[in-house]
């Protein structure tokens, strides 16, 4: 199985689109960092606008530090990173069918289940590598460019601040959670890939699903809030932010606290559940699929 996995990872990293994905995300992050370096004051102004003018202006260089820049980047990439994950996962089976190689590999002495396992695992490895790269650029490079300071997290109805030595562990957990969310996206794209003979379909459908579900997640329509929103996986994909929502006593942030850890764990469980369902469907269908391509 390891040698098969090596083959799949080899194939992914031999394709130009893999490097295009890394290059695109790097470019986007660098552009955001440049924009914030030169126009960060306006963004910070927008962020702090919720307070009205109750307080004195906090110097931009304190608020706009590496930790906040990383948070902003991750916020702005809510759709982009899943698209790049879908680009590879959606190609896993459909791409082989499109190329005509599926019939070759499916007639090799490797069970269909084994084939799917190694292909999905390779997609997951790519996803994790992409996420690690994003973490490096968004966090490490931002810290190098903007320094560290306390992190202020603007929420819709409150503003949470945490000390600089109370931030890194949150990012570590947030990235772990983001990995779960992105693996769920990969599983969706992978499942659609099994049904298709052309990788464009699964990629486009996955992206559309994410966009539509994200819009539904963010719309404040009580009908949706009570019916479908709790079940949308995009609602739960935002769980990484929960690590930056703190508890307070008399307005004072409790260091090391998480406002609602059980909600985050529940979201993680929902995402894992969705992943299992998507993969279950993929495996069930592929085992029976007539390979006609």
């Amino acid at each position: 199985m390891i040698s098969l996995l090596k083959i799949e990872i080899f194939k992914i990293f031999k394709k130009p689109r893999t490097y295009i994905a890394f290059a695109v995300i790097s470019l986007i992050i660098i552009l955001i960092q440049i924009a914030l370096k030169f126009g960060g004051k306006e963004y910070v102004g927008l962020m702090m606008s919720g307070m009205g003018d109750s307080f004195e202006e906090i110097p931009t260089k304190i608020v706009l530090n590496g930790y906040l820049v990383c948070f902003i980047i991750l916020n702005l990439l809510l759709i982009h990173i899943p698209i790049l994950v879908a680009l590879v996962a959606g190609d896993a089976i459909a791409g082989e069918a499109n190329m005509g190689t599926l019939r070759l590999i499916a007639s090799k002495p490797v069970s269909r289940i084994q084939l799917l396992i190694v292909k999905f695992t390779a997609s997951v490895i790519y996803t994790l590598m992409l996420l690690i790269w994003v973490a490096f650029l968004a966090l490490i490079v931002s810290i190098a460019l903007f320094g560290v300071n306390w992190l202020g997290v603007p929420r819709e109805l409150q503003f949470n601040v945490m000390e600089s030595d109370d931030v890194l562990w949150r990012y570590a957990l947030a990235f772990c959670f983001a990995a779960i969310g992105l693996i769920c996206v990969a599983a969706l794209a992978f499942m659609l890939s099994v049904f298709s003979d052309n990788s464009i379909g699964p990629i486009v459908v996955t992206v559309c699903v994410i966009i539509v579900f994200t819009i539904l997640t963010q719309l404040q329509i009580p009908f949706y809030d009570e019916t479908i929103k709790p079940y949308l996986f995009t609602t739960h994909m935002l769980g990484w932010k929960g690590f930056f929502y703190v508890k307070a006593v008399d307005g004072v942030t409790q260091k090391g606290s998480i406002e609602n850890l059980s909600a985050i764990l529940k979201s993680a469980a929902v995402l894992i559940g969705y992943t299992a369902v998507f993969l279950g469907i993929a495996f069930w269908y592929f085992k029976r699929k007539n390979i006609l391509s």
Partner: protein, 302 residues
């Protein structure tokens, strides 16, 4: 000789269309087994069922005496195949492709061994070129190298000569003969090129609209009691007039231009040839007209 492939009552339906209907056939060990049928007859569907790419609606398949549905891995470890034109990974080189498929077949081959295998199909010099730079013939040869990389006992070739030039076709023919006669492989080959099949196949299976219409040894199928011969002469009409004065008059099928076609029992042919030689007409050639094409068209034209 034991049977390599044993298919019983093989049926495949796609919704309301029955692509393969109750097909039963046996492929004996060693030799070349030709699989013929018109477009849409069910050849590719049958081959895909043999390779477990398609699940049969009904019927069973045994290969090497093992049930395909339960011993798929063991069977495929001893089977190599080209299905239609061999699509390989265009963004990889020949060596990378070969190594990849070797690994999937459970082999760990170093570069030298891989180059040796490419040498056998004449691709060693282009071993490190990406497949997207290959011609159709080169891709076909690489496909064969991939099918043979793990030294299988059974080789299934679906239309292997499609898209090849005459030299390419000749190369494939020689390779098939070599694998069959020199290496003792069993080859199951489907092709539209009946003239080529006639040259390589030992046995035939012909299907039409998903059903078997003929199966057997090539010589037996193509040499029925009645033989058809074509005589080339200076004037077919003149020869026809002479033959009509003999007992062979009712054996004339047609006489046009320089060719006259006769049909008679196989054992009568030598006598007939002797007698027309005595007619002192210019005879340029005498050919057997019992070709595979004739046989095939006679079976499938209605």
């Amino acid at each position: 000789m034991s049977s390599i492939i044993d298919a019983r009552g093989l049926t495949k339906s796609f919704n309301e269309i029955t692509a393969v209907d109750d097909l039963t056939f046996t492929v004996k060990e060693k030799g070349v087994y030709g699989f013929l049928g018109q477009n849409g007859a069910g050849k590719s569907t049958t081959i895909r069922m043999l390779l477990s790419l398609i699940r049969p609606t009904k019927g069973e398949i045994k290969i090497f005496g093992l049930d395909l549905s339960t011993h798929r891995k063991e069977i495929l470890q001893r089977t190599g195949a080209i299905i239609e034109k061999p699509d390989l990974y265009k963004y990889l080189t020949a060596v990378e492709n070969l190594k990849l498929f070797a690994t999937m077949s459970g082999l760990k081959l170093n570069r030298k061994l891989l180059i040796d295998k490419l040498e056998k199909v004449g691709l060693a010099e282009r071993a490190d070129s990406k497949i997207k730079t290959y011609s159709q013939g080169m891709k076909q040869r690489l496909g064969i190298a991939v099918a043979l990389v793990h030294n299988p006992d059974l080789i299934i070739l679906d239309e292997p000569m499609n898209g090849l030039d005459p030299q390419g076709i000749a190369d494939i023919r020689h390779l098939i003969n070599h694998l069959s006669k020199d290496e003792g492989k069993t080859i199951f080959i489907s092709s539209h090129l009946l003239s080529e099949m006639e040259q390589v196949a030992d046995s035939l299976l012909i299907i039409h609209k998903g059903k078997k219409i003929a199966e057997g040894n090539m010589n037996e199928l193509l040499n029925p009691e009645q033989s058809r011969i074509e005589v080339e002469t200076r004037s077919a009409k003149e020869l026809e007039l002479l033959i009509k004065q003999t007992a062979w008059a009712n054996k004339i099928i047609s006489a046009n231009g320089s060719k006259i076609i006769m049909q008679m029992k196989r054992e009568e042919v030598p006598v007939f040839i002797q007698q027309i030689a005595e007619m002192k007409q210019d005879i340029y050639s005498i050919h057997k007209k019992n070709s595979l094409e004739d046989y095939f068209l006679s079976l499938t034209s209605h």
